[in-house]
Symmetry: C2
Subunit: 157 residues, 2 copies
């Protein structure tokens, strides 16, 4: 499928608005389904004190709320810039049918946003990361999975 | 630094509560700072229709709200299971000083949660992913970064 230029331009416009309002970094995102914009969002990390309030996360959450669904079936996500690993992970869980972006992770790095570093770190095994991250084996770790398997009305996603 | 077993056990307990209440998948997380639990959360994807409502995201958001900060300085995150790429990305942005987890991405996969697939996909270049994801070069993509550079009171994060 082909991207719709007007939705990409809307993502740029929303991003500029977010910067001008002081909400956060220079990023915008739009979720569309066919001809319809379901949601748009800019980064709001600063005003909400929420490090997860990236544009894509905001647009995904708002579009899911509008659809009353945790899946973005038949939807497209437009992002002013290449999604960071957090947002890319969110995209995989939300399952839109396509993602279109314009600026790259290197453009983001030049503006001071270290998405490229996070991409590099995530590809490493836990013990090789800059972040102190350790697996702690514990017999209690099985209990949530046992409860899940035993729940007959569980909703899979 | 060493993990505190009681905080890991709390993450397991919260995860079981989340399953039993029907909130979502079998995952729990805790943010602590020294002796204090700042926040705990379980997965809430199903009840909130929010694909980003993983345990770690919920705990990070709640702890940041408690601290009135978008950074988890001097905090530790405990997760019942290895964080998925979305949550790991969120952890990098929130910058706790340590992460401890117990079950692995393979345990999650066995329970039907395809974190391992998302890890594999994120490591690929965009054009090689299962997800249709395409860069669309556009002159408008520079506008948000130009606005950002021109904003004297921007808050970097």
């Amino acid at each position: 499928m082909e991207p719709r230029e007007e939705f990409l331009v809307l993502a740029f416009e929303v991003a500029v608005q977010g910067v001008e309002s002081g909400a956060g970094g220079p990023f915008g995102a739009v979720v569309a389904r066919g001809d319809d914009v379901l949601a748009s969002a800019h980064n709001q990390v600063v005003t909400t004190n929420d490090p997860t309030a990236h544009a894509e996360i905001g647009a995904i959450r708002a579009a899911c709320a509008a659809l009353n669904s945790f899946q973005l079936d038949d939807c497209e996500l437009y992002a002013s810039c290449e999604p960071c690993p957090m947002c890319l992970g969110a995209i995989y869980w939300a399952r839109p049918r396509a993602v279109f972006f314009s600026a790259t992770r290197d453009d983001a790095a030049q503006a001071g946003f270290d998405d490229a570093f996070v991409y590099d770190e995530i590809a490493l095994p836990a013990e090789a990361r800059t972040l102190l991250m350790r697996r702690v084996a514990h017999p209690g770790a099985a209990a949530p999975f046992i409860a899940w398997a035993a729940k007959p009305d569980r909703v899979e996603y």
